[in-house]
Symmetry: C2
DNA sequence: CGCGACGTTGATTTGCCTCAACGATTGTGG
DNA sequence: CCACAATCGTTGAGGCAAATCAACGTCGCG
C-alpha cells in the first residue's frame, strides 16, 4: 500500500526492515474524493501529505477573490503548509484534490517521536524540503526573468503531463495570469 | 566566536558540551570584505553559510543584464544555494557581502559525517530549511497578491532595518521592480 | 434539454518599464 | 584638500505587456 513511499524514502536514506514496519504502522492511508480538501484557510495544518495517487493543488484566495495556485502535487510529491505546521498558526492556504486521489498521511503529532526512533527520517525530510526550497528559488528566477508567454511555453515543455491532467484556468492561476491571457498566447502562431 | 550560532541551534535542538566542541572545531570562520563573493554564477556551491555579523544578498543576472535579488541575509540567517549544493550543479546565483561581514562556514563535504555524529543536527537543518521554504511560499503570496506599491510599503513595515542598511536600488531589485519606480512610489503622498 | 463550467476573442485600460536628463552624494587620485 | 568621476536617487514623457470587462461558443452533465 505504501510501496511508492518506501521506495521514495530509500532513494535518499537506508531503511531497515523493522524501520519500514514501524513506519508503515505509523502512517495513515486516506482516499480523497475529487474537490475534497486536505486543508482550508483558517485551519491548523496538522499533517504532511504524500501523494500515492492522484493530483492536488495548493492555493490561496486573494483580496479580490481570485484563486492563486502556488503548488501542484502529483504522485510521489509531498504537499503541506509548513508555515502552519511549524508555527501552529492558522493557514492562509487551501489544499484540494483535483482528481480522485490517495495519500499517505504523516500526522505532525507523531513526527518528533518517529524521527527519534528512525533518526534517518530527519535527514530524509531535510533533503526533501531542501529540494522543495531549491525549486521555489528557481521558480522565483523564472517569475522575474521571463514574460508570461515565455513562462507558459517553458511550463509546457517542462511539465507536459500537467497540461493533460489539469484544467487550463489552473495553469493560468499557477503561472500568475488570467485564463484569457492563456487563450491569447495559444492563439498566436 | 560562534556563540550566536550555538545559541541559534539550541533554540531548536538540545546540544551536549561534547557536541558543541565537535561542532566548533568542524566549522570554519571567515571574514568577508564588502562586495566580496561567497559564490558566483557557474561555480559549485560547496558550503552552507551562517551570518555571524554583516549582511549579504543572493541574486542572479537576467538575460538582459539586470541583477535580480532573491534573498537577503543578516545576522543569524543561513544563506546558500541548495540547488547547487544538493545536486552538485553549477550555480545560477551570486552571493555577495553588502557590508564588511563575518560568517561561519559549514563545508558540504563534512556535513554527512557531522550529522552522523550529531544526529540532532539533521533535525536542526530540517527545521531551518522548512522555515526558509515557508517564508518563500509566503513571499510568493505577496508577489501575486499585491501591487508593487503595496509590496514596497509592506516591506518597509516588516523589515525597517533593511531600509537603513541596504541601498534603495537593492530593495527595488528584491521587490522585482526598477529603482525609478521606488522613487515614484515615495513621491506619492 | 438547459444550465453551469470552461474556453475564446476583441476593445479598452493600467501598472510598471524604458529611456533620458538632471541633482546629490560619495569616493578617489592628483 | 580640491577636482572630477562614479554612484545613487529623482523626475518626466512615452510605450508595452497583461489585466479588465464584456460578449459569445462549446462541451459535459444532472
Amino acid at each position: 500500500m505504501y510501496d511508492s513511499l518506501i521506495a521514495h524514502i530509500r532513494k535518499f536514506v537506508p531503511l531497515s526492515e523493522e524501520e519500514e514496519n514501524l513506519l508503515t504502522t505509523s502512517l495513515r492511508h486516506k482516499k480523497v474524493r475529487k474537490k475534497e480538501f486536505l486543508l482550508k484557510e483558517g485551519q491548523l495544518c496538522s499533517a504532511n501529505h504524500f501523494v500515492l495517487k492522484g493530483c492536488f493543488r495548493m492555493y490561496f484566495i486573494q483580496e479580490n477573490g481570485v484563486e492563486q495556485i502556488i503548488q501542484f502535487a502529483i504522485e510521489n510529491w509531498w504537499i503541506t503548509d509548513y508555515q502552519s505546521l511549524d508555527w501552529q498558526q492558522p493557514s492562509h492556504f487551501y489544499i484540494q484534490a483535483i482528481e480522485p486521489s490517495e495519500i499517505a498521511l504523516f500526522d505532525q503529532s507523531i513526527i518528533p517521536d518517529l524521527c527519534d526512533r528512525i533518526p534517518k527520517l530527519d535527514r530524509y525530510f531535510r533533503l526533501i524540503v531542501q529540494r522543495a526550497f531549491a525549486a521555489s528559488q528557481q521558480n522565483l528566477l523564472y517569475i522575474y526573468t521571463f514574460s508570461g508567454e515565455e513562462r507558459y511555453h517553458h511550463f509546457n515543455r517542462a511539465f507536459p503531463e500537467f497540461i493533460q491532467r489539469v484544467p487550463q484556468y489552473m495553469i493560468a492561476s499557477y503561472l500568475g495570469f488570467t485564463p484569457e491571457f492563456v487563450s491569447k498566447i495559444k492563439g498566436r502562431r
